[in-house]
């Protein structure tokens, strides 16, 4: 086959870098290319184009004010001179879309995100066929590459003791939360209206009055309402028209972590729209965050519901709507561990097709959380259910934000890991990349933000081979109202995560703490682009640490062992939590009180 002849035209008074790079790639791939200088008039370019039989004329131009008219006129003159009968004319540049290429009369358009492979495929007449919808990627399993092998045998032994004691302790116990989870599963699978009614009646006997009212009188808590049919119709129309294509990729290489964001505006439809936009920018997954008051009530609302304040209602309908609306390759996590509905939330998430869930028996029982005994019983049931639904569960270490030292938080995470493994579940460690109170007071990050964050990860890696997913989000308490600063901070922490080698990260939007309402789409994109830029910057290299890194790693690992020894000496995990072993009142952590005295013998 004859090599194709390509005329490269930088239709730009100055900038010809892009077309030079493209030309070099085309040369390497056997095309015969000629590059014009960037200062030629349209007449001179046409004269050149007419002088020889070119197969393609590649025009490079950044779109700006008045440029569209120039390009259209250029095409007009090529057409009138008869050149279009012998050469295809292609445009590439920033802001070029297929629609714009068509509008200007070009045969094909490539934007800044197009790859050289796509261009070469087009020039060779074997155009890459993208799916007309969908974002063309596979769903990842975060736990897949980890054997859960313990390297620190002493820690393994202590964790075994703590986990075994706890499993024995809760064996003969149940709670209204555990019982509701069973009924909820029956409700979802109930065939007839009659049996459903009977089950709902049984269910609401175990609920608080505010939840009961929603079932019996259709009365919802303040600022909650049902989503209307027309709203669902509009959403479906939007989704059918705006399915993202050609998603960007955040990761620079395949070893870099997956990137997650929160959803939880209160309105599942807004969550979905934001979700679709984030998918287009390459986000790998989302965590649904529920309203804080959901944690306080026995029982969950049912149906497609919107909430006018922070947090999206954890109902089966809402989770399923979000799951079904997101791309199949997008991972969805549902937070379960806070409050009195932990096992039931796992049932809802599992039945609705969520991929992961979130359980921490320690953090969920500290800092205005659930009574430790109640959460121990509920949490064990929840982990069993997560294993049954094949959902890995992540264990957030956000108790560090209350002022708990990292080693106590990490000890708590490890306890959850061992319980998870004993129940055949797939636990995921979620240490914080944060500037938490204990760190501030003790000046642990006064010299740099790398050593201490990296030391937490290194300590965990020295103990066990388990998936690690710094959250929640990374850069917590390092961000300000300045969106540029926030994006930078996300970028640095994402780069650090990539350099250390972790499985995933959660990133905050740049207005996460300051939006004074729902998070804006643009600030979501800020942080995604910031993370992508951090990954690109870091590539396959690493940050360098100082000697403090080794000191901190050793200190954290040693102190984790100390904490676990004390915890193992207690009768059971709830007692250790009540006694402040994993976070004391002096640290700023208080055992939770919701669900106090609700644990019963089976």
């Amino acid at each position: 086959m004859m090599a194709k002849k390509i005329l490269c035209v930088p239709l730009d008074p100055v900038h010809d870098v892009g077309i030079k790079i493209i030309r070099a790639e085309l040369d390497k791939n056997g095309f015969i290319t000629e590059l014009l200088s960037p200062d030629l008039s349209v007449h001179e370019i046409i004269k050149k184009a007419a002088s020889r039989q070119y197969d393609f004329i590649l025009v490079s131009r950044t779109l700006g004010y008045g440029v569209a008219e120039l390009l259209a006129s250029f095409i007009d003159q090529l057409d009138a001179a008869g050149i279009r009968e012998k050469s295809k004319v292609v445009i590439g540049g920033k802001a070029i879309t297929p629609q714009l290429a068509a509008e200007l009369g070009f045969d094909k358009g490539f934007d800044e995100h197009s790859t050289i492979e796509e261009l070469i495929a087009y020039l060779n007449g074997s155009e890459i066929n993208f799916k007309s919808s969908g974002i063309n990627r596979c769903k990842k399993d975060i736990s897949a590459d980890h054997a859960y092998k313990f390297f620190d045998k002493e820690v393994e032994k202590l964790l075994n003791q703590i986990a075994d004691k706890l499993l024995l302790f809760v064996k003969d116990k149940t709670t209204p939360g555990v019982e509701r989870a069973k009924i909820r599963r029956e409700i979802i699978h109930s065939g007839s209206t009659d049996s459903r009614k009977k089950l709902v009646k049984k269910y609401i006997e175990l609920c608080d009055a505010v939840i009961v009212k929603s079932y019996s009188d259709n009365q919802f808590p303040l600022a909650v309402r049902r989503i209307s049919e027309s709203e669902i119709t509009s959403l479906k129309k939007f989704l059918s028209e705006k399915n993202p294509i050609h998603s960007r990729k955040i990761q620079h290489n395949e070893h870099q972590p997956l990137v997650f964001k929160f959803l939880g505006s209160g309105c599942p439809m807004m969550d979905i729209v934001h979700g679709k936009i984030c998918e287009r920018s390459g986000i790998n997954g989302f965590l649904i965050i529920n309203p804080s008051w959901e944690a306080r009530y026995e029982g969950l609302l049912d149906g497609l519901l919107t909430h006018q304040n922070d947090g999206t209602i954890t109902s089966f309908g809402n989770i399923k709507l979000i799951r079904d609306s997101l791309d199949k390759s997008t991972l969805l996590t549902v937070r379960a561990h806070r409050g009195l509905n932990t096992p039931e939330t796992i049932v809802l998430a599992g039945e609705a097709g969520a991929d992961l869930t979130k359980i921490n028996l320690v953090y969920g029982a500290l800092g205005a959380g659930t009574d430790p005994l109640r959460l121990a019983v509920d949490g064990i049931e929840a982990i069993k259910l997560a294993a049954e639904y094949k959902m890995p569960f992540d264990i957030p270490g956000n108790d560090e934000l209350s002022g708990v030292p990292a080693w106590k938080t990490l000890a708590g995470l490890l306890i959850n890991v061992m319980i998870g493994l004993k129940l055949n579940a797939k636990p995921v460690l979620k240490p914080l990349f944060c500037y938490g109170p204990h760190i501030v007071i003790n000046k642990l990050m006064s010299e740099n933000y790398i050593d201490y964050n990296a030391a937490k990860i290194a300590a965990l890696k020295n103990i066990v081979d388990a998936p690690i997913w710094p959250g929640e989000p990374i850069a917590f308490m390092t961000q300000t109202e300045d969106r540029v600063q926030s994006a930078n901070s996300t970028s640095y922490h994402a780069a650090l995560a990539a350099g250390i080698g972790v499985d995933a990260i959660t990133i905050a939007s740049t207005d996460e703490a300051y939006s004074r309402g729902p998070i804006s789409v643009s600030s979501r994109l800020d942080s995604i682009h910031a993370a992508a830029d951090g990954f690109n910057f870091m590539g396959n290299s690493k940050f360098s640490t100082t000697s403090n890194f080794e000191l901190y790693t050793e200190m954290i690992q040693q102190k984790i062992k100390d904490i676990l020894r004390t915890a193992a000496s207690k009768d059971n995990l709830p007692e250790a939590i009540y006694d402040g072993v994993l976070g004391s009142k002096a640290d700023g952590a208080y055992p939770g009180k919701f669900g106090l005295n609700t644990v019963a013998k089976k």
Binding site: H43, D79, A80, Q99, A102, L104, G105
Partner: protein, 315 residues
């Protein structure tokens, strides 16, 4: 059955092509004329590809034959019948010919070159429409010489200076004032030159020179000085010379023997006061004086001038 082809050409983007076209489609429906539509490029989108401002949408009626790129039909379920696929490609895929079965808003992405437009028009004619519309794209005009008549749209988006808009349309009117030449009789010879190669102009032996490609104005002048009569491709190609003021001076300079191989009729001019105002960051909607624009344009042109939103011409 006779079939008229009307091209709608904008002097710039956002000068009212879609609004004029929508009016024509409705007019044809009132007159019970079967219509067909295609376009050069891409039009009918909700949001402007450049200014990001909302645009008027093109609504087609049942029965309209439409030639557009396949990608534009993706969202139009159950409102058209596929008649045929063509071999012509655009940046948005293969051009297909469909018949509308329900009223619907449509995006037209038609053929992007004169040869492809000629091919598509031939296919469309097989379905016996009484009136074919060619939707122009941006200020692209070269393929539109294939039309029988042309309606130009102009307005604030081209220039906010009404005087310069009037001057431009006067030049266009002047360019269209020369007759069609059907090459009857003998003595014609083709000049094998194009604008790109004609730095050197040969001495033509014939008195009647046919020029099929656009040439630079300076060369056209030379040929007309040396020879007697020029049969130029079309008024459209003359407009492609770019230098409109020079063109006007040249055409006004004497009794030129100029005629055209393809001569669409200049049917009308429609004016639109809207313009996208750019503040350095984004565009917003603005308007020049509509009454003054219409009045001055009418005073200076012999071609009919309309504001399609307020007038109701019968064409």
């Amino acid at each position: 059955m006779s079939c008229k082809i009307t091209g709608i050409v904008g002097t710039a983007k956002n000068t009212g092509k879609t609004t004029t076209l929508t009016y024509l489609v409705e007019l044809a429906a009132q007159k019970k004329i079967k219509t067909a539509i295609t376009g050069i490029g891409y039009d009918g989108e909700e949001i402007d590809n450049i200014t990001s401002l909302p645009k008027p949408r093109l609504k087609l009626l049942p029965g309209t034959i439409t030639a557009t790129s396949e990608a534009c039909l993706a969202r139009m379920n159950n409102c058209y019948e596929l008649l045929e696929r063509t071999e012509f490609e655009t940046a948005l895929g293969q051009i297909v010919i469909v018949r509308m079965t329900k009223p619907n808003l449509i995006v037209i992405a038609g053929p992007n070159s004169r040869s492809a437009l000629a091919g598509v028009l031939n296919r469309i004619r097989n379905y016996n429409p009484g009136w074919i519309f060619i939707d122009g794209s941006l200020n692209r005009i070269s393929p539109i010489y294939l039309a029988d008549e042309i309606i130009f749209t102009t307005g604030g988006a081209r220039s906010t200076d009404i005087n310069s808009l009037v001057t431009e349309m006067k030049i266009i009117e002047k360019v269209f004032s020369y007759p069609q030449n059907n090459l009857e009789g003998a003595g014609y010879s083709y000049a094998d030159i194009t604008s790109v190669e004609s730095d050197f102009i040969p001495d033509f032996t014939s008195e009647k020179i046919i020029i099929k490609h656009p040439v630079q104005l300076k060369h056209l002048k030379k040929i007309l000085e040396k020879n007697n009569e020029v049969i130029y491709h079309s008024p459209i190609y003359l407009l492609l010379s770019g230098d409109l003021n020079g063109l006007y001076d040249f055409l006004s300079s004497g009794n030129l023997k100029l005629s055209y191989l393809y001569k669409p009729e200049l049917k009308a001019v429609t004016v639109n006061p809207f313009y996208p105002d750019y503040n350095g960051l984004s565009y917003s909607e603005s308007f020049i004086n509509a009454d003054q624009l219409l009045r001055q344009m009418k005073e200076n042109l012999s071609t009919p001038v309309y504001n399609i939103k307020t007038d109701h011409p019968q064409f």
